[in-house]
């Protein structure tokens, strides 16, 4: 589905990723973990095309997308929930889900389906995105990415700043994505969330993948947790 091969990425003048390789297979939830500043968000930005890789290769559904502009990568079927949610203050909730909507025959994520999934948003359709609570903004960021009916969803720290209740709601969403077979690449700091939902985990340190395992293995590996996650 998604193959990232030995990518080197600069952010401004400094190199952030030093040869990262990972893959996401159909139907999988794959997590990327690591301390702050190890390049997790840069990895997501490179995949969606906002900070293109200087060297290496990114392939999605078999097509080389390394140097494609972001909007083309998105239209090939990658959904993106940026860190900090970044909803549009000038757009209403309804408009958020109109500007990105892209329905294909048989595609599961329609406007109506979103409202079923996030009834809170349905009550606030004409409100500005910036007037929503943090949890609602997260749901909106998920909704606007999903109505494009992506074949892969990138989630960059979706639980950041959420109440435990909202984290559980988000977990439900990841569960629904799993059920529909939509793969997810998840950057996450909350170990419990990753242990519960991920199928595989990559651990990043100083711009490189230093460990790759199943969540169950990570749960018991106190050395790795202490060294790379600070747990």
């Amino acid at each position: 589905m998604l193959v990232v091969e030995d990518i080197h990425v600069n952010y401004g003048p400094s190199q952030v990723l030093h040869g990262v390789t990972l893959e996401v297979n159909p139907g999988e939830v794959v997590a990327v973990m690591g301390r702050n500043g190890v390049g997790k968000s840069t990895l997501m930005r490179s995949i969606i095309g906002l900070t293109p890789a200087r060297a290496g290769r990114i392939a999605f559904k078999g097509a080389d997308v390394t140097k494609l502009p972001a909007h083309k990568i998105a239209r090939l079927g990658i959904g993106y929930m940026p860190q900090g949610r970044r909803v549009f203050p000038s757009l209403t909730v309804r408009e958020h889900m109109q500007v990105t909507a892209h329905a294909r025959p048989g595609s599961p994520w329609t406007f109506e389906r979103m409202l079923e999934l996030f009834p809170n948003l349905g009550e606030r359709l004409e409100q500005s995105g910036s007037k929503l609570s943090g949890g609602e903004q997260t749901m909106l960021a998920a909704g606007r990415a999903l109505v494009a009916n992506p074949d892969l969803l990138l989630m960059d720290e979706p639980t950041e700043g959420l109440s435990p209740l909202m984290v559980r709601e988000l977990g439900k969403l990841v569960g629904v994505l799993k059920d529909t077979g939509t793969p997810v690449l998840l950057v996450e700091q909350q170990l419990a969330f990753v242990l519960k939902y991920a199928d595989r985990v990559y651990i990043l340190s100083k711009g490189q993948v230093v460990h790759h395992c199943k969540p169950s293995e990570l749960a018991d590996d106190h050395d790795i947790k202490a060294r790379y996650l600070g747990v």
Binding site: I48, G49, L50, P69, A70, H71, A74, R75, Y80, P82, R86, F88, P89, S90, L91, E95, Q98, V99, T100, H102, R144, A145, A148
Partner: protein, 283 residues
């Protein structure tokens, strides 16, 4: 009753300023380009309009041909030049500054150095009585057209999908791109619309302000004041700012004729000291 006349003068000038500032504001809001060529769009629009009227005698045709021609000029500038320096402010600004001089010289070469005043369309070269004074219907036409254009732009921005994409791009171009919105296509559309409106202002303002070498600078300066007062990236700001500057300019010239530009720039400074992003601008 003379105040009605002065107010109408101010409002009609304000509408011309709105036509100029709307494009300037949208281009800056979406692309962060300070387009110093914007006054040139006005001038070229007025000149092409004068040629069309001279050859065909039709003001209505000038209102269509000149803005379309200038919109093409704007698209060419954006596609072939500005695009190479995306978000690189200094090269972009220098580039538009260069175009300002190139276009000014081309205009001098083609249309000469004499100031010209476009003829008013026959239908609107009359006057009507307003409160005991005679007032030119052409200026009333300007007011109507200005509000109509504002209405169409507002509808487009608030009630169409492309308008919503445009707002998303102004809010956060990066996130918009990552969600599959072709922001670079929006750039071209906005440049075309901005140049179109400025040239429309050139033809409509032709019978009042006219066209002459240097008008590009003068007009650009006023448009900048409007955009700064109203707030960058905001259509409402361009409309309110345009009306405010139009009225200030008009009444300033009546009360303090010796301080012509003073009456525009002092209020601008005052507004900026209380609202640094302009009346409707966002930080």
């Amino acid at each position: 009753m003379i105040w009605i006349i002065h107010t109408l003068n101010g409002v009609s000038l304000g509408m011309l300023l709105f036509l100029l500032a709307a494009g300037l504001s949208l281009i800056y809001g979406l692309m962060k380009i300070l387009n110093l060529t914007h006054g040139s769009y006005y001038l070229v629009g007025a000149y092409i309009g004068s040629t069309v009227i001279e050859k065909t005698g039709s003001f209505a045709l000038a209102l269509i041909v000149a803005p379309l021609a200038v919109a093409l000029l704007g698209v060419a500038m954006e596609r072939f030049f500005l695009r190479r320096f995306h978000l690189d402010e200094l090269p972009q600004t220098l580039l538009t500054f260069g175009f300002l001089f190139i276009i000014a010289d081309l205009c001098l070469w083609i249309w000469g150095g004499d100031a010209i005043l476009l003829p008013k369309p026959a239908l609107f070269s009359t006057s009507i009585a307003i409160g005991g004074n005679f007032y030119p219907t052409y200026r009333l036409l300007l007011i109507v057209v200005g509000f109509a254009v504002a209405g169409v732009l507002w509808w487009f921005q608030e009630h169409t999908r492309i308008g919503a994409m445009l707002r998303a791009g102004v809010d956060d171009a990066e996130t918009a791109r990552a969600l599959g919105i072709d922001v670079s296509l929006l750039f071209t559309v906005v440049f075309a619309v901005g140049a179109f409106l400025a040239a429309l202002g050139g033809v409509l303002g032709g019978p009042i302000i006219g066209a002459s070498p240097g008008a590009d600078f003068d007009v650009m300066l006023l448009a900048f004041v409007v955009v700064i007062v109203g707030g960058l990236g905001s259509l409402r700001g361009a409309l309110v700012g345009g009306l405010l500057v139009g009225l200030l300019d008009n009444f300033g010239k009546i009360f303090f004729p010796e301080f012509a530009l003073f009456t525009i720039f002092v209020p601008m400074a005052i507004i900026l000291s209380f609202r640094p992003t302009g009346l409707f601008g966002r930080a």
